[in-house]
């Protein structure tokens, strides 16, 4: 009887969500379902698509909502056509009585992240009526949900035998692996082509000639010297900066040339962004900068096939700007930014001028020694485009430390560039990431 009721409810949900029937997979199509650790999740997503903490703008009636993944229960579900990672997330400013799940899945080669809210009051069961897709990185979800991870006391769509692990029930609803039938909606703020409820849609118009524009925000400029954490905190609320990073993300994912923005200090702590870019299939950008012309940052993209972290060439560029007085004072506030097609985004900032100068003198003052740094990247640390983003990230952080670079690596939230955490290496070579509120 319970089974029949479950099927009835399932059918009802299918109708409510207006998904084509063949968009759905059923339990029998689930080939494998297993709990994985957060570290395994990172590995499976090349180590960078998801951070334990992240923020979504413009949902739940707030400018920003911070979430944290409940890493105790992350489920990988494999069907014949797709793999979905499903996990509970918790709003950092306190639980509001609702249940939130994050779904990450691959759709036609693109990693999509959806957040679904389940309004659960008292003994109320999960249903279409109390289910809402509050965020989708691709406007694709629109109700074609795959799984719900809910406490056992909720969502008895299946019999109690489905209640697994540490008190969660995996409830199968539908399959996001299909074409998706909804999304859209929302006004967007212009500039992007996705529309819908994607909060990272770029704001404003991008100058077609790449000659400048942008502005606003409170980026790396300013006279007060900031620590990496303070810089990260400042940049996470800098809308102009995040929009430019989003712009670079789009380029990294779709173009075959490197794109970048020079950040020039503007008025009241804002930055003026000037676009620069390389040639197709040529992993470089040549930038003409007069001696002494000061910038607060340089952010750029790596397209598919390039390194998932900063290259030796990127560090050389940074040193060249340092050496030639192209960094606005204080230089510690200068940000070198990167967004890659490998779903990674990083900053490097100067922590120690003397060490950075010594590092630059070692590797960049004699052209041939630059090959030595490339050797260290590839042979010593295995930092290559072929290796995983997670491995490259860890080894790049180690390289910066072992070779006394005076630089600090910071890892960002690829989803929306809201929040940066330092990638630290201790004396036992353990790599940790540390987020600062």
């Amino acid at each position: 009887m319970k089974r029949i009721l479950s099927l009835f409810l399932l059918s009802w949900v299918i109708m409510m969500f207006s998904c084509k029937e063949d968009d759905f997979a059923y339990d029998s199509e689930i080939q494998n379902k297993q709990n994985i650790s957060f570290e395994e999740l990172q590995k499976k997503l090349s180590g960078s698509s998801v951070s334990k903490r992240f923020s979504i703008p413009g949902i739940m009636g707030k400018d920003m909502t911070d979430f944290e993944i409940d890493t105790a229960e992350i489920v990988e579900i494999n069907t014949t056509s797709s793999t979905t990672y499903s996990m509970k997330i918790v709003p950092l400013d306190g639980e509001d009585g609702n249940l939130y799940n994050l779904y990450i899945y691959d759709k036609n080669g693109e990693i999509i992240q959806d957040i679904v809210k389940y309004e659960l009051a008292g003994e109320e069961k999960i249903s279409a009526e109390n289910t809402e897709v509050i965020y989708s990185s691709k406007n694709s979800a629109a109700g074609c949900l795959m799984l719900v991870i809910a406490p056992c006391e909720y969502g008895y769509w299946h019999d109690d035998a489905h209640c697994e692990g540490s008190g969660w029930v995996v409830v199968y609803i539908g399959d996001c692996g299909g074409s998706g039938s909804g999304g859209g909606g929302g006004s967007g703020d212009g500039g992007g082509d996705a529309g819908g409820n994607d909060p990272v849609t770029p704001v404003g118009h991008e100058p077609a000639d790449g000659s400048g524009g942008g502005g606003g925000g409170s980026g790396g400029g300013g006279n007060q010297e900031l620590s990496p954490c303070e810089l990260g905190k400042k940049l996470k609320t800098d809308t102009a900066f995040k929009n430019k990073m989003q712009n670079l993300k789009n380029s990294a994912q779709n173009d075959n040339f490197e794109k970048g923005f020079l950040m020039e200090p503007g008025v009241n702590g804002s930055n003026i962004y000037t676009q620069v870019q390389g040639s197709p299939n040529d992993p470089q950008i040549s930038i003409e900068i007069p001696l002494g012309e000061e910038y607060s940052g340089l952010i750029h993209s790596h397209y598919n096939g390039l390194l998932s972290v900063f290259s030796a060439s990127d560090l050389s560029t940074m040193y060249s700007m340092f050496l030639n007085g192209n960094m606005a004072q204080p230089e510690r506030n200068f940000v070198m930014g990167l967004v890659t097609a490998d779903s990674t985004t990083y900053l490097v900032v100067i922590e120690d001028y003397t060490k950075f100068d010594n590092f630059g003198q070692t590797f960049f003052s004699v052209p041939g020694v630059y090959n030595g740094l490339e050797t260290i990247y590839a042979v010593t640390y295995g930092i290559t485009p072929e290796n995983t983003a997670s491995s490259n990230e860890q080894n790049f952080a180690k390289l910066l430390k072992h070779f006394n670079s005076g630089l600090k690596l910071m890892k960002g939230n690829y989803l929306n560039f809201y929040g940066w955490e330092t990638v630290d290496v201790d004396n036992n070579n353990n790599v940790t990431t540390n987020y600062y509120q």
């Binding site: 950008i285 070692t362 260290i376």
Partner: protein, 191 residues
């Protein structure tokens, strides 16, 4: 007194037996993290050591010497293998690029490269090729040479402009393009 002698003996032993760790760079242990004093070898470079010659009918002749040496990074107290090389370019027996003799010492440090820059350096091997940084003295710039091992003692050298991010100063754009050496040549290994 006995303890004192033992202590000295212990210290002496430590100094005597303190050895660098030698790691095969092509078979790095998983999760390898460099430590001070480590020496990361790269036997893939062996294929590119030697003396190589290229000639054409117009009287042009290029002689390249490449030697693998231990390269010391003072900044991290760390060693890798690197190729160091010299180049001589003659046109109708007139020397266009003068060969700079590579020092005979086994170990070259990063500070050595500042006092006596090398004409050629290289270290990364991929798909039977090593990427070389070549000083084109005539054009006052460094260029990239992709040096590929072929069959029967032949090697292909293809030159290209340095491909990295570059900060260009206004007025520097006029830097001469192209290369003094032929853009592509097949060299024969002499020894």
């Amino acid at each position: 007194m006995k303890n004192y002698k033992l202590l000295i003996l212990l210290l002496f032993s430590c100094i005597l037996f303190a050895q660098e760790r030698i790691i095969d760079g092509n078979e790095r242990p998983e999760n390898y993290s460099p430590q001070k004093g480590d020496y990361l070898t790269n036997n893939l470079l062996d294929d590119f050591e030697g003396v190589f010659i290229w000639k054409n009918d117009n009287g042009k002749e290029i002689l390249i010497t490449l030697i693998k040496k231990k390269f010391y990074y003072e900044i991290a107290d760390f060693y890798t293998d690197m190729l160091f090389g010299s180049i001589e370019y003659k046109r109708n027996n007139k020397i266009i690029i003068q060969k700079k003799v590579i020092e005979s010492k086994d170990k070259i440090s990063t500070s050595d490269t500042k006092t006596s820059p090398y004409q050629i350096m290289g270290g990364v091997v991929t798909s039977q090729s090593v990427e070389l940084s070549i000083n084109d003295e005539e054009k006052n710039k460094h260029i990239v040479g992709i040096f590929t091992k072929l069959e029967n003692g032949k090697y292909l050298l293809k030159l290209k402009e340095l491909r990295d991010n570059t900060i260009i100063r206004p007025g520097e754009r006029g830097k001469e393009s192209g290369f003094t050496l032929p853009e592509e040549m097949i060299l024969i290994k002499l020894k």
